[in-house]
Symmetry: C2
Subunit: 378 residues, 2 copies
């Protein structure tokens, strides 16, 4: 292993609240994000307010009722950093915040770091994951949505999933055309220069001719960096879908993009890294954007690591000791099986660092212009 496989030295402030069930066993939330960035060579300060869940049951299916992080706590922790002159971060990654007040506290941190870096454009970059819900359902309280709508104006890159993009844009995404409209609206409404919609299942867009979309075993990631006039510069990357669910993959994506985007910006025209928000000049094609190049790397790493995780999971489940299960009650047996499956499906990070650093998969970005869309999909 060489140091060459590390990304440029990057100091990251990772702000996220999470509820610690019993023990830091699972790679979720800030724990996943922090470890992924560290494994790629970033120096990470994790500002997370840890809360013990009232229940000690791990792998619960229900929502967690643990103590919530207060906004004051987040602010206080950040003030501690300021008093100690420990705020020379290159990137901030903000993730789950448990309340509207917490979202605003995180927003205030992002804005303060931006103010501090004002004299050196490009020296600070804020990646915001607007964690609100998925699959048509909010999993935060209603007032978190307007709180995000207020702070997103200040972020450099946001990472909504399809549902969150709908929530932010007010546009229901049912076709390639409405997808493009939603991204255009988010750029325009929030003045946010970079967007990645982290997973779109195009096969559900029934009105799209299949030739222009993707087979149902694919997932599509759509990204865009604005042009000078605020219009989107769209690219799409299709990746084979893996038939499984792993928790923490959203955090994994966010962490990887932090490391890989800065790396791609450093590999681009030297002027870019001193340009506010790292927005490439208009003559850079969508597929040549650092955002597109970084996303390709991120998806390749994720595909490799998750494929290895599936193999390890299957081997673990095959080898599982199920003796005694038949003596249990149906409820107890199902619970044990669920635990076994959840544990086996933990993302295998530490044994697969080589794929995280040097993925073997090769994906392609395609430029995606609205005028290319077939009439049927518009």
């Amino acid at each position: 292993m060489s140091a060459d496989s590390l990304v440029p030295e990057t100091r990251v402030l990772a702000v996220a609240s999470h509820v610690s069930r019993f023990c830091q066993m699972r790679y979720v939330g800030n724990k996943m994000a922090t470890l992924v960035m560290q494994l790629l060579g970033c120096d990470v300060a994790a500002l997370n307010t840890v809360h013990f869940s009232e229940s000690l049951q791990p792998y619960r299916l229900q929502a967690i009722q643990g103590h919530q992080a207060t906004a004051e706590q987040i602010t206080e922790l950040y003030e501690g950093l300021c008093q100690s002159h420990l705020t020379d971060f290159d990137v901030m990654l903000s993730g789950y915040a448990p309340s509207a007040a917490a979202v605003e506290a995180v927003g205030a941190i992002g804005m303060d770091l931006q103010r501090k870096a004002e004299k050196n454009p490009g020296s600070f970059f804020w990646v915001l994951d607007p964690v609100m819900g998925d699959q048509g359902r909010l999993y935060v309280s209603n007032d978190v949505v307007p709180a995000y709508k207020r702070i997103i104006h200040h972020a450099d890159l946001i990472l909504p999933n399809q549902f969150e993009a709908e929530t932010l844009s007010g546009i229901k995404i049912t076709s390639l055309s409405t997808l493009a409209e939603a991204i255009t609206a988010i750029h325009a409404t929030y003045n946010v220069p970079h967007i990645i919609i982290t997973s779109v299942d195009l096969s559900r867009f029934t009105q799209s001719p299949s030739s222009q979309t993707t087979p149902s075993d694919s997932l599509t990631v759509i990204g865009s960096t604005t042009r000078a006039d605020g219009s989107p510069r769209l690219f799409r990357i299709d990746v084979p879908a893996l038939d499984c669910y792993f928790s923490g993959t959203g955090d994994m994506f966010a962490a990887l993009i932090v490391a890989r985007l800065r790396e791609a910006v450093f590999a681009a025209d030297p002027q870019l890294r001193t340009t506010k928000s790292w927005v490439s000049p208009d003559d850079v094609k969508a597929t040549d954007l650092p955002l597109a190049r970084a996303t390709i790397q991120v998806l390749a790493s994720m595909h490799n690591v998750l494929e290895k995780t599936m193999e390890a999971r299957d081997a673990e489940l095959r080898a599982a000791d199920t003796r005694g299960d038949e003596t249990l009650s149906e409820e107890e047996r199902l619970k044990r099986e669920h635990l076994r499956k959840s544990k086996a499906a933990e993302v295998r990070l530490v044994r697969n660092v080589q794929y995280l650093r040097e993925p073997t998969m090769v994906f392609q970005a395609q430029e995606w212009r609205k005028e290319d869309l077939p009439a049927g999909s518009q």
Copy 2:
């Protein structure tokens, strides 16, 4: 980087309490230990009870007055693991515990894991760092000492520093001879099969002829694995001392030895890994012990990483922005300088993973027999 540089797959339970000042910025306590083990390829469950310090000042020189972890909390967290059948650990590493009750709670966990592994000798190993004090001074309350004395009987390997070895053995270490006596006494009193005394400054042993000890710019690490009759099998490794202080190096040593000892045991005679406490047969020389081989690797990694840390620290301090310092009060200026130095001296782990995994330093272990000691040192 290849997967070959990872240690064998190892599931570790890392139990330690630590006080989180404002933010998980520094690699101390369980955070350092966890990351080091992960970087080497171990799967780590960190059972740590995190407590926010009442003060937000990082890098304080004084003792920390934060909320203490309760023994009940530790026990409760472990019970959560048991209920979920998540106790299939290969190694437990236990570090700082804030009270006598907490030490005993940790002891109960170690003993329970041992009981669970009873039918498969060698399948579980407990490394215990009896954190009590340093340089002649206790930094835990007095009742923690007898608590450690009660639980150490059950540990497989303990990692006292010189002061802690004196505290456990009741023997003041002032010479090579008293050092050997202390180790012999610890083996005999606590029936603990493996000991490493993590740093001994032999140059302070004024009565030792210098030819038999080491120059003052060296540190010596002494280890021993018992023979069948309980007598020590001693080795020593001399390493060049680095002229600096880095916090967290004790945790770094403990984490590295967890990974490296199991690796060395796996590389030894296959029978060893199914032998209780991995005690090598009597015909294995001190220098061929897995404990000696692992310690050599650990010290080489530490030397490489700390040397790189010193270089990075010096570069960071040279580049430090001290403008405005002259306008500060003397107290404020000194405080800022202290912060700057403390921050610069953080162990550089993530940028130096290659040295952690594949150290370039080569150290030697020497067998150390009591009869070899010169008369003057006895």
